[in-house]
Amino acid sequence: MADLTVNGVRLHVQRLGAGARVAVFVHGLVMDNLSSFYFTLATPAAAHRAVRLFDLRGHGLSERPAGGYAVADFVADLAALVDAESPDAPVDVIGNSFGGLIALAFAHAHPARVASLVLIDAHDGTAGWAAQMAATLGLQGQARDEKIAASFQAWLGRHSERKRTRLADHARALVEGTTLVADLEASPPLDLARLATIAAPALLLYGEHSDVRDRGAALAAALPAATLEVVAGCTHSILWEATALVRDRVVAWLEAR
C-alpha cells in the first residue's frame, strides 16, 4: 500500500496522474475516506494535475493514533503531505465537508502553498461548528448511531447491512477510542474576518438544502476571490447527489488555471 508517514502517523496515499502541478483532495469526517474522491473526481482531475488522495489520520486505511485530532493536527498533516508531494509549487486543494474546513484552515495558515481552493459543502469552522459536531458525535449508544446514520444517509444508502455495520464499527472506534471529539471541540474557531488574507481563487459548491448552505454565503463574502454556486435540489451530500456536476465544475476549474 502506498503510504507516507507525516508527523509520526502513517497515512494511506493514492497518486494518480503526472506533471509538475499537484492537486490534493481532502475527504470528510468519521465515515468518509479517500474512496469518495477516488470513484468520482480523481481520474478526470488526473488529466490536468498530479492528483494526491489521502486518508486523514484515523480514517480509511491510515493509522489511527489515540490522540492528535485537532483541526491544527489535520492541517499539519496536510502541510507535511504538500511539502512531500509538491515541495516547490503551490497546490490546488479540494475539500469536501470537514475536508473543506481543513483546506480552508490550511490556506489560512499557509497561503503561499495554495494555488486554488475548491470547497464542497464545507464547514467553515467558525464559532459553534465544533459544539454542533461534538453534540452529534458525543451522543451515546443508539442515539449516536442513529444520528451518525442520519448524517451520512446518502453515503450509507449505497451500502449493505454488513458494510453499514463495519463502517459504524470503524466510526465508533474513532469516536470512542480516540480524542477526536474533545480535540475538535477544543480547536479554536476560524475567524472569517481573517480569511481575507487568502488571495487564492476559491470555488464554493453548496447544496441548496444543505444545513451549512449559509456557511457558503459567509465564506463567499469573506474570501477575496470566491465564486459560489448553489446546486439546486441537493443536501450536504452533493458529491454523491450531483457527482457529474461537481466533476464538471472541478475539472473546468483545474483546466482553466
Binding site: M1, S35, F39, L167
Partner: protein, 94 residues
C-alpha cells in the same frame, strides 16, 4: 464450468489479492467465481476496492490500467461489477 487455464490463473490471482485486501473471511461463503459480485456477494468496502486496484496494478503493471477502466464507469456500474468483469478486463490486456 471448466475455465481455460489463462482465465483460471487470473481468477486465482484476483482471489489471492482480494484475500490480501479484505482477509480470509471474505471467502467463507465459498471460493470466488466469475459470477461473484464485489458488492452484493463479497461486500467489499469502497476503500478495500481502492486497495485491490493498487495491488492489481502492482501485479499486472501499467498495461492493466484498472483505475482508468473504473473511471469510465458510472457508480451504479461499479457497484454491479463482478469478478468475471474484472477477469475479462485483465485477460484482454495481458
Amino acid at each position: 464450468m471448466t475455465l481455460d487455464p489463462a482465465t483460471a490463473a487470473i481468477l486465482a490471482t484476483v482471489e489471492r489479492l482480494v484475500i490480501e485486501v479484505a482477509g480470509d473471511e471474505i471467502t467463507l461463503a465459498g471460493p470466488l467465481t466469475l459470477a461473484t459480485s464485489f458488492n452484493a456477494d463479497l461486500e467489499l468496502e469502497s476503500i478495500e476496492f481502492v486497495a485491490l486496484a493498487e495491488k492489481l496494478q502492482a501485479h499486472y503493471g501499467a498495461q492493466v490500467d484498472f483505475v482508468g477502466w473504473i473511471s469510465t464507469k458510472q457508480l451504479d456500474e461499479i457497484i454491479a461489477l463482478t469478478v468475471g468483469d474484472l477477469v475479462t478486463f485483465i485477460a484482454a490486456r495481458t
